[in-house]
Structures are given as structure tokens and as C-alpha cells.
């Protein structure tokens, strides 16, 4: 069942008298029990989008359907009620520093006017769930980042939300705590079956948790797919860039410039990822396969991998090899030379001469 549906959402800011389209005609929906990733580089508009969803920022236009209402049209009192049904966790945790862990978790319940008698068992249940019962009387500053974020999760879950918004929730954490918080989020989704919108710039985080991912660039969703399909067939350059990771700075298209032979990106599903397909076609079709780059990603639904390969041989043989790979379920994308963003000095120099 659909928990939230966003239609043609727009939000722009004036910065030095120029309009910045932070959210530009964005539409998507998220179902119950689904983790929906919104991934993009810094400044892509992810954080503005998530603030529009619970109306902390008022969108310029568009619709946000949640709990049977278009939130954009509601007045403040309805919005406050709906915000409780939409928990949010933040990059910097945003805990109340002068309240104890217990009071932080109790806060949404107190705001909703619940009696202390009802609040006590609920807070204790939540603290137990995040494994921080022993720290109930501690202040946030006495906890580690990972513990603070778990308190943030408990606070966000206090009112039994249908949707959890996670705004770069692991970006300020070290790898170990990132792992802990991610497994906690996974547990929340499995136990409570709520929907999660996960905002991140780290593909590592998105692939560990998401069922579906939307890639954002300049306020627009440029590509949206299930995680497996996205890794198999990344259509947009930003997506391919994010799959490769930031430590590997070269766009895939760069490999097409390296050789005169045609270069392909081959995407392998979990069923084909372990089969020796390349050496197989190399033997059968008498083509030389030169592997330029490759990667395997462990996703929620199974392992997905890709290889960047150039084929040398008779044109007919290469064609046969490719169609054989296609029949085996391999996703094939031809990489055109000169499409990369970092083509090096050579190309720019040529352009200038012209």
C-alpha cells in the first residue's frame, strides 16, 4: 500500500537574485515496508526535498499525498498531527542536548499531550528496542555518535509513524557506527513494516538498505529503479559515477578513449555473476576480451556486478559474442568515446584550437 505519493513538487530559492531550483518537478511514491533511496551529490536538492515532505519547508507547487490528504493544502494544526506520523532522523542527530535520553524519546509523546502514565511504558519499550535502557538518564553529549543516532531513531519512532525520513543519518558517523545504525534501520523496516525514505550521498549506504533508488541531480530525479536494475543498467552518467564510488574518479566513458576497439559495460545479475561467461565467449567466438574495470556489489536482493570490456576480433565474431551474452541475461551498454566528463587535457586543447 502506498504510504506517500509526491507529484510534481517544486521548490526554489533566491540566492543573490538568481533562482535556485532546489527541487524541480519531482514525483515518486513509496510503499509500505519499502526503503526508498534518494541519492545524489551534495547540492542536488535532497535535503530540501525531505524538508518539503514534512512541510518544514513549504513547496512552491506540487502535491504530497500522505494519510489520504494532500499535505500542501492543509493548515498548521493538521500538519502538526501528520508530522508525528512521519518520523525524521538527521545527519547531526539534533537531539535536545539539555534533556536526558529518556526525555528526548518522550518528547513527541509529551508534545502530543499524552499522560506520563502512558508515556513511561512506551519510552521504556523504545529504549529497550534501541538497546540503550542503561543510558536513560544520560545526556546526549555523554553518548557516542552511533548511540545518539539510535536515540534519534527511538524519538522518531515514538509516535508509531508510517514513514521514516532519514536525512544523511549516517554521514557523520564512522564506518562501524554507520554499520550499526544501518542494521538498526533495517531492523525497524523488518519489524514495523513502515516505509523509509533514505537520503544519502553514499551509494554504499543506499545499496545496503534500499529496495528502490532515485538518483537526483540539480533538483531533478534523473533516474529511478530497483537497486538491482540500477546497478545492472545505470542509464545516467551520475548514476554510473556513484556506483563506481568517489575514490575511483574516472568516469566509465574514459575507458572508451583508451582503445580503438569497441568498449562495453556488461552488467551481471546475481544468477550470472559467478559464471565464467567472458572466457566462454572468448573461446567460442575467437574474440579477445580485454577487461578494463570491474566491480561486484552486494545488494539486498543479491549480488550484482559489472565489467568494462573491450572486444577485439572479427566484427561478426564480436556481434555473436555480444548476442550470446545478451541471451545469458547480461545487460550490455556500449560506451562511446568522448562522452566522459574528465576526458583530459587533449580534448579541451583541440576544442580551443577550433
Amino acid at each position: 500500500m502506498c504510504v506517500i505519493r509526491v507529484e510534481h513538487l517544486r521548490k526554489s530559492f533566491l540566492l543573490d537574485k538568481t533562482a535556485i531550483h532546489a527541487v524541480d518537478d519531482v514525483s515518486f511514491s513509496v510503499d509500505e515496508g519499502e526503503v526508498f533511496g534518494l541519492i545524489g551529490l551534495s547540492g542536488a536538492g535532497k535535503s530540501t526535498l525531505v524538508r518539503c515532505l514534512n512541510l518544514l519547508e513549504r513547496p512552491d507547487s506540487g502535491e504530497i499525498w500522505f494519510d489520504g490528504l494532500n499535505l500542501v493544502e492543509q493548515d498548521d494544526s493538521v500538519l502538526r498531527e501528520k508530522r508525528c506520523r512521519m518520523g525524521i532522523i538527521f545527519q547531526h542527530f539534533n537531539l535536545f542536548m539539555r534533556k536526558t535520553v529518556w526525555e528526548n524519546v518522550a518528547y513527541p509523546l509529551r508534545i502530543a499531550g499524552q499522560r506520563t502514565k502512558e508515556i513511561i511504558p512506551r519510552v521504556e519499550e523504545l529504549l529497550d528496542y534501541i538497546g540503550l535502557s542503561a543510558h536513560a538518564r544520560s545526556y546526549p553529549a555523554e553518548l557516542s555518535g552511533g548511540q545518539q543516532q539510535r536515540v534519534g531513531i527511538a524519538r522518531a519512532l515514538a509516535m508509531n509513524p508510517r514513514l521514516l525520513l532519514s536525512d544523511e543519518a549516517t554521514s557523520a558517523l564512522d564506518p562501524v557506527n554507520t554499520e550499526l545504525v544501518l542494521s538498526m534501520l533495517r531492523k525497524v523496516v523488518d519489524d514495523l513494516g513502515i516505509a523509509v525514505i533514505l537520503i544519502t550521498h553514499q551509494m554504499e549506504v543506499a545499496k545496503a538498505l534500499c529496495d528502490r533508488i532515485a538518483v537526483m541531480e540539480n533538483g531533478k530525479i534523473v533516474e529511478e529503479n530497483t537497486v538491482e536494475e540500477l546497478f545492472l543498467r545505470p542509464r545516467h552518467a551520475v548514476t554510473r559515477r556513484m556506483i563506481r564510488g568517489f575514490d575511483e574518479d574516472i568516469p566509465l566513458e574514459h575507458f572508451a578513449d583508451l582503445t580503438s576497439a569497441p568498449v562495453y559495460r556488461l552488467g551481471f545479475r546475481s544468477q550470472t555473476v559467478t559464471r565464467p561467461l567472458i572466457s566462454d565467449i572468448s573461446r567460442r567466438f575467437n574474440v579477445d576480451a580485454n577487461i578494463l574495470a570491474g566491480n561486484i556489489n552486494a545488494l539486498v536482493g543479491g549480488d550484482v556486478g559489472y565489467l568494462v570490456v573491450s572486444f577485439e576480433g572479427e566484427e561478426e565474431a564480436v556481434c555473436g559474442a555480444l548476442s550470446s551474452l545478451h541471451e545469458d541475461g547480461v545487460e550490455i551498454l556500449k560506451l562511446e568515446p568522448g562522452n566522459g566528463q574528465n576526458n583530459g587535457v587533449g580534448l579541451h586543447a583541440k576544442e580551443e584550437v577550433r
Binding site: L56, C84, F90, M97
Partner: protein, 218 residues
């Protein structure tokens, strides 16, 4: 010696009453300022600018001049223009804009993300102010009140020069005019002791409030 006890009590009365009045009016003003700031939660840039300018104007008037200017107001409110009770009016009037400004600055130290977390939990603006903004800023607010009281002690001493009563009055009449350095010295010493006690108590309360492990403001 009787004179000293009377003067000390007068000063305590003046300082305490005007401090309470200035906080009671200045704190809500500080809250209003933080809310209507151009980047605040309820931005009203024109209202903000109006209050902002008024505060700056009031804060630039020297106390002696303000005291004389508000004589008519004092007469209206307490029935006379000089004396201990009458002096409370200019003391409070000068302290209110100071308190408002210092509260605004204290509130600015509260991370906007924490306010966002409160709003996302379903809080109204009023609830947010009461349950997040003021509690989170409390140590800084206490520090601000301490500074305010010390300022008022200084101003109240000055008020003595034009019939305000209290220790300042005593220091000038019995010390300066009669050339009695002992009287002058004792009056000043009591005033210094006052400032020390207020500063000590202020810091004590502030440190207690900071037991949550958050680092103290500079």
C-alpha cells in the same frame, strides 16, 4: 551605621525590582526578536527592524540623561520623580532592551536543527519556545541575567547622584560631598561585594545547568 543598612536595603530593592521587571518584559521581547528575524521561524522583517532600531536607540542613551527624560513617566507610574521607587522606572527601561538583545543572542546559540527536530515532533511555535528554545538556551540565559543585574547595580549607584537613594547616594552625599573617605570607601566596598556575590551565584547556577556535558559558552 544605620545609614549604611538603609542604603544597602534600598539598593537591593531597586536592583531586584528593576531586574525582575526587565527580565519579565525583556525575555518575551527576546523570544519575539528571534521568531521574527528575517531568517527566523515567523519572519516579519519590518517588525524586526522596528524593534531592532528601538533597542539600539534606547541602549545608546546615557543613563543620567534617560533618568531625567523619564521623570514625567516615573511621576505618572509611582507618583514622584526622585527616590528609590521612582528610580526603578529608568533602571528597568534601560535594562529591558539590554535583556532583549542578550536573550536574542543566547537563543541564536541554539542549533536550528534542534528546533527543526522539535517542529518535526509536532510542536507548535509556543510549545517549541517553552520546551526547546528556552530550556536549550537556559545556561546562556542565566549568564545574560547575571550580566544584566551587574549592569543595573552600576546604574543604580549612578542614580544616587540625582536623588535615587541607595549606596550610590550614600557614597556621594556622605563620602564625596563631606570629604569622608571612610564612608566613601565602605559604600563602594559594599557595591563591589554585591557585584561579586551576583557573579558568583550566577556562575554557580550556570555551571549546575551545564552538568549535561555540553561545553560552556565563552
Amino acid at each position: 551605621m544605620n545609614e549604611f543598612v538603609r542604603a544597602t536595603l534600598e539598593t537591593v530593592y531597586m536592583v531586584l525590582t528593576s531586574s525582575i521587571i526587565s527580565v519579565v518584559i525583556g525575555l518575551p521581547l527576546g523570544v519575539l526578536l528571534i521568531l521574527v528575524r528575517p531568517e527566523g521561524l515567523r519572519p516579519k522583517p519590518n517588525l524586526y527592524r522596528a524593534i531592532d532600531v528601538t533597542i539600539n536607540v534606547l541602549r545608546s542613551i546615557p543613563f543620567m540623561i534617560l533618568m531625567i527624560v523619564v521623570f514625567p513617566l516615573s511621576r505618572l507610574l509611582v507618583g514622584r520623580a526622585t527616590g528609590t521607587t521612582a528610580t526603578i522606572v529608568p533602571l528597568a527601561i534601560l535594562a529591558i532592551p539590554f535583556v532583549a538583545r542578550i536573550m536574542e543572542q543566547s537563543f541564536l546559540e541554539v542549533d536550528y536543527g534542534v528546533l527543526e527536530a522539535g517542529l518535526a515532533s509536532g510542536a507548535t511555535i509556543g510549545q517549541l519556545v517553552r520546551t526547546v528554545l528556552i530550556p536549550e538556551a537556559l545556561p546562556a540565559l542565566v549568564n545574560g541575567v547575571t550580566i544584566t543585574i551587574i549592569n543595573i547595580i552600576g546604574n543604580s549607584a549612578m542614580a544616587g547622584a540625582i536623588g535615587g537613594g541607595g549606596l550610590g547616594d550614600l557614597a556621594i552625599r556622605y563620602g564625596l560631598y563631606r570629604r569622608n573617605s571612610l564612608n566613601l570607601f565602605v559604600a563602594v566596598a559594599i557595591t563591589i561585594a554585591f557585584v561579586q556575590i551576583v557573579q558568583f551565584l550566577g556562575r554557580l547556577i550556570e555551571n549546575r545547568l551545564r552538568r549535561d556535558g555540553t561545553s560552556p559558552a565563552l
